[in-house]
Amino acid sequence: MLERILYNLLQVAIVVGFAPLAEGVTTRLKEILQSKRGPSIFQPYRDLWKLLHKDEVVSDYASWIFRTAPYVAFVAPVFVALLIPVLTRYPLEFAFMGDMLGGGFILALGGFFTTLAAVDTGNPYGPMGASRTRMVGFLAEPVFIVVFLTVSFVAGSTIPYIVQTHWSTPIANFFEPSHILLLIAFLMLILAEDGRIPVDNPSGLFELAMIDRSKGLEYSGRSAALIKWAGAMKFFVLITIFLNVLVTPWGLAATAAPIDVLVAIPCVLLKVFLFILVLVYIESSLAKLRLFRITEFLGAAFVISVVAMITRLSAI
């Protein structure tokens, strides 16, 4: 009982602690691929440290939404980290507080508050980014719903721990066509949700072309740190769901022995690293889409997820 609570808190700590590292590694690898040296992989931690010690500037016209949004955005992925399998194969203490749809809603709540905050200050770039994020968001929503409906139909449950066990036992389930199609649809969804390259350029500094990043332009000091950290955690949580539930449901602790759980930590980090390699490859070999091509990109993801559902429903 106690150890299940402890492990649950441990996995939250891992998400909070290693999320900036994942971002640092991504940036570094991208720079290396462009024949540059790039910043240290620990640079995000230094940025956060610096920002946390700076004064904050808040517009006189900003309301309470602007002040609270960073905290909501920060808490949302932390909360989701309680629900998903990060280290163990068996459900932990708080796993049944919410299912996958619940987790999706909580992540969306964080996004909702940052969007409101972007509109709040009256900075012209904020609302522009906010409306674009909403556009990507509502195009991504049907994909999200179809993917999770199919997944829960397959496993007979919407709790991620149960879904994960279904894909890996027996191993033949892993190769079902619907599973492979779902993987691809979900990968496209992650790229869109996290503002990665075919949809948005995460390292772009040109305000007019920004989608996701322009929402945080007005923040400074501690709030900016929280927003940055929240973004990194959301990315980490999405990857963890993708890897541990859908792609590689292996390398997780099967028993409650502390040694098993500790061994699972490097396994998870290794999987995340491999995923980042793929992501860097995708990001470096594609060009950013025009804004109106995003519809087609997410439309394609939707088509793939629906085909997955159809093949699943016809019992293939």
Partner: protein, 225 residues
Amino acid sequence: MPWVDTHGLSFDIAHMLAGLLVLVSFMMLYQDRLTALLHVLGLHAFVLALSVAWQAHIQDAPHLYITAGIALAFKAILIPYALRRMVFQMGLHREIETVGGIGITMLAGIALVALSLEVMLPVTAHTDPVAREDIALALSVVLIGLLMMVTRRNAISQVVGFMSLENGINLAATGARGMPLVVEISVAFSILIAFIVVGVFLFRIRERFDTVDVGALDRSRGGEK
């Protein structure tokens, strides 16, 4: 459902490869650049070759490896390469014009997949489970190939649609046990001949109308436009 218990690893890998073929067909529908489309055609044939080789493995039928080799050499490498050369030689405009938007075409693609699964699975209810599901997915590849031929104006992308359709037929044929090698070789050669004929046609069309947009043919026939 009675057929669920037959799910073994080898069945599921066969189905996965067939499913990937459907996925690559959708990638073809998504492409709006001619050269990228030809790369996807190569990928399509490559997945087909993998699928056929896997069938050879699970059916213990070595002659299917030859089929896989033919798919790999001719369809994955030779034909896309030749089409690519053609595109560059003719100096074609490399964006594909579609009838209707890409999104609508892909939605129609979903409907075709659903249709072929709904039609094929009940019809083949008493046959070998690997074959029946492969045939259902192969039919959707064929239908998507047809859809592609219908919705593209550019003659080269119509050829690509035709080639992917043929890949679908090939998938269906290898899923059923005991397709003789002679049939496969003659099919492969007829495809090559068809390709040559189409190539000659393309050059003739281009010579005469200065475009490979098949809309131009309507004009010469005295139709509207």
